[in-house]
Amino acid sequence: MNCTDHQDWIQDYLDGAVPADTGSAAEHRAACAVCRELFAAAQRLLAGVRQLPCPVPPADLGCRIVRSVLADRRRTLVFRRVAVVGALAASLLLATWFALPYFRADVPNGNREVVSGDPKVPEPSLEESLQEGTAALMAVTRRTTGETVGQTRLLTALVPEMPVPDPQGLVALNTPSASLRELQESVSDGLEPVASSWRRAVDLFRRNIPPMTPPSE
């Protein structure tokens, strides 16, 4: 054994892995004063380290630690509960907000109407709706025309009779229109349309027409 090997042996000795007087190490120390004194120093160090006091914690440190740990645990539980309730409420609000449009029924062309409370009444088809709209338009036109004619008759009754002009003194009137069709068109041109589209006409008349009672089954 040389001095380097003995130094390694000293480390094993301080580890507690080898006894004090191992053969080759003891022989080397007998011959080497330096290593002999190194071994003495190592023995003193080991003795001192074994007597090193273990730091003793304060008597109340354990209680303080347990108290703080339990308080921290309670705080964590409360926080988790609040977080879970908040998340559930937020999820419910989001789900309601997204599902709200699906509670309303849509017609194919995008119009919305309130769902009928009576599930037994079938919804009218498109053709039926058109026919109803046309019939409603004709009815309102007749009524309007009738009122107009009636008022005109009243006015006409108030006008005193005028002498019939001499046909020969009359300026020649324009020749009459070529056909009855042209007459009708000229009359209808003067009339202002009720609505710009049949859809608006239907909506307009639906407001004025009393609700139709469904046929009893």
């Binding site: 090193l52 006091p53 730091p55 740990v69």
Partner: protein, 202 residues
């Protein structure tokens, strides 16, 4: 021991207060001892010990039950100590360790020897001091220390050997060991001998 540790941890995770107290009582002395050695300040050691256990219980679910519990706890302790050292502003005071010990003082020069060893330890680099305390004072094997510090066993042995040599060098300078053991040794007997005399890295 690991089966007992695992059972204790399971009880703690279920919220058992008795298990919590048992875990604290089992490790508080070692955690406090390491904090005191690393921080060299009694009040700081108490605060850090408390903080260590808070972190232990907060992260107890992440402990791998197939590994020993003690190195995991000591690893957390060391990390907190390092963080505390990095944040500390004031100069650390050397704690009077002998007042913490409930035993009679020896009549020979052992008290002086102990004081010199403690002073030498305080002047060591932090990792050397940590390894020295974990091995010689807490009796942890190399493997546990390597797991605690997340270093190879060879590195731990090298650090411990250097720590011993630095302590021996200081004791020699203070006259606590035979003065002639370094005579004629030359550089080959003191690895890093140029930096080994009274190094104060921490």
């Amino acid at each position: 021991m690991s089966a007992e540790d695992a059972a204790l941890v399971r009880r703690c995770l279920r919220g058992d207060e008795q298990a919590t107290r048992a875990l604290v009582e089992r490790f508080q002395a070692e955690v406090y001892g390491l904090c005191l050695r690393v921080l060299n300040h009694r009040h700081d050691a108490e605060d850090v010990t408390q903080e260590v256990f808070l972190r232990i219980f907060r992260s107890l679910r992440r402990w791998d039950s197939s590994r020993p519990l003690k190195p995991w706890i000591m690893g957390i302790t060391l990390n907190r100590c390092r963080t505390w050292l990095a944040q500390r502003v004031r100069r650390p005071e050397l704690a009077d360790y002998l007042q913490d010990v409930a035993q009679s003082r020896p009549e020979d020069d052992s008290a002086e020897l102990l004081r010199e060893i403690e002073t030498a330890l305080a002047e060591l680099r932090e990792e050397y001091r940590t390894v020295f305390v974990l091995f010689h004072q807490q009796g942890q094997p190399y493997e546990d220390i390597a797991a605690t510090l997340e270093r190879p066993v060879g590195t731990i042995k090298t650090w411990l050997h250097r720590a011993r040599l630095e302590v021996l060098e200081r004791l020699r300078k203070r006259g606590m060991v035979p003065p002639d053991w370094q005579t004629g040794m030359g550089a080959e007997h003191l690895p890093g001998a140029g930096a080994g005399s009274g190094s104060t890295r921490k």
